[in-house]
Symmetry: C2
Subunit: 247 residues, 2 copies
């Protein structure tokens, strides 16, 4: 089963949702048959780095008093901590996540995607330092296991892994995804938001039960393959090119 998760580093519900989904996955008996792919999604591609204004920005955006905005953040921090996640209400910057996503795509190419994603979330929500500071990004990516020279080369070239980010975002648009976190199972079910562990468990069970159990197999009559008994029809090798199956 293939689960794709679109998310953005600046999204607190993505941070929470990842932890809840992973709990559900740990409890899922077919977990060894589930492959997870993380996908890029920028909540605000136009955003410039605006500094440590989260509280003020929230207050303005939602027409809250600063005290109300802080209370909302405190509440979200409580929800995150219930999932065992560190969460600092202060110290969080707001900024453009494109470079973070490019580095995540590099980490995917190096088999370190989950490691880097986890550390980037921690770097944004639980560190007293801005995640938009590129030296902070380098430090975190090295900690995830990436090569420092390669990290710096990617950061220095805005085109590096940009196509991969755009491709994920184009796929999200194609699937009608406008917010994150968004979970897609076998391109059949979508789950929007940081649902509860129970809800994720239920979706996993349901998708598993409804997996198409039988493949439509094309091209069996002229296999050009090998099995436990050997390679198909050695005399057939003399016939050259295998026939195109009737599809």
């Amino acid at each position: 089963m293939h689960v794709e998760i679109w998310s953005d580093i600046s999204c607190p519900w993505c941070y929470v949702g990842k932890a809840r989904f992973e709990k559900a996955l740990t409890l899922f008996r077919h977990r060894d048959h589930v492959e997870v792919t993380h996908r890029s999604f920028e909540l605000d591609p136009q955003l410039a780095h605006t500094g440590p204004t989260t509280g003020a920005a929230h207050a303005k955006k939602y027409d809250l008093t600063p005290a109300e905005a802080r209370a909302a953040e405190e509440n979200l921090a409580g929800i995150a901590r219930e999932e065992g996640l560190d969460y600092l209400v202060d110290f969080r910057d707001h900024g453009n996540t494109f470079d973070l996503h490019r580095l995540l795509q590099l980490s995917a190419a190096r088999g370190l995607h989950d490691e880097l994603l986890t550390l980037f979330y921690q770097g944004n929500f639980a560190a007293e330092r801005s995640i938009y500071d590129s030296e902070h990004q380098v430090e975190i990516a090295v900690r995830a296991g990436l090569d420092e020279a390669e990290i710096r080369a990617v950061l220095a070239d805005r085109r590096a892994y940009a196509d991969e980010v755009r491709r994920d975002e184009a796929e999200a648009a194609q699937l009608g995804i406008t917010g994150v976190p968004f979970f897609v199972i076998d391109r059949k079910y979508g789950v929007s938001g940081a649902q509860s562990v129970e809800a994720f468990s239920e979706v996993l069970r349901r998708a598993w039960a409804e997996r198409q159990p039988v493949l439509t197999v094309l091209g069996t009559d002229d296999r050009a393959g090998c099995d436990a008994h050997g390679c198909e029809t050695p005399r057939g090798w003399s016939t050259g090119e295998p026939r195109t199956p009737g599809i």
Copy 2:
């Protein structure tokens, strides 16, 4: 779209099929939306390393004269060369591929799966040296970009990445796959054997056209997510745990 390819290093049709599939993929206009995962399949898990007996083994297995067996190999070499692949009729050993698959699983974890698979095929079909020689395996894996100490540690411990190989093989059994190469598209279509480039192209087009375009989205009424306008309902944060969707 997700394409999974089950194959074994000792399988000449897998070598040919990989090249043909990749040609079809290069020609496919939606190729940027196709993800390929290689899966382990041992044609003969019980096999011991039996030395350079390919020709004799073939002759015996298919009740051919040595001349006929050689002619069959020459023919297959011709088919491989048509795909631009190097292929030596002599110098090929026959043996157990479990270690090769474990190293391939390591390479998958390091984002180097395709690199190593390509080099292992070349090492088996186009090198004047046995692929079952572990020093040859180390050299090839280093060339693919893996860390030498890590390669040697995996080779020294037969349990390393063994579960990953067995998981792929269990999935193959579940899908009814008994021979390789076997191509599975979105767990919906299966293609058996090294079909022609045209046949692969047709399957890719057909699977693309029939992709389920609309997701069944669960849990939209209480999203606990973020979108371009911000994170859902800051006042909602005060409500604590988001509701379990009605699934």
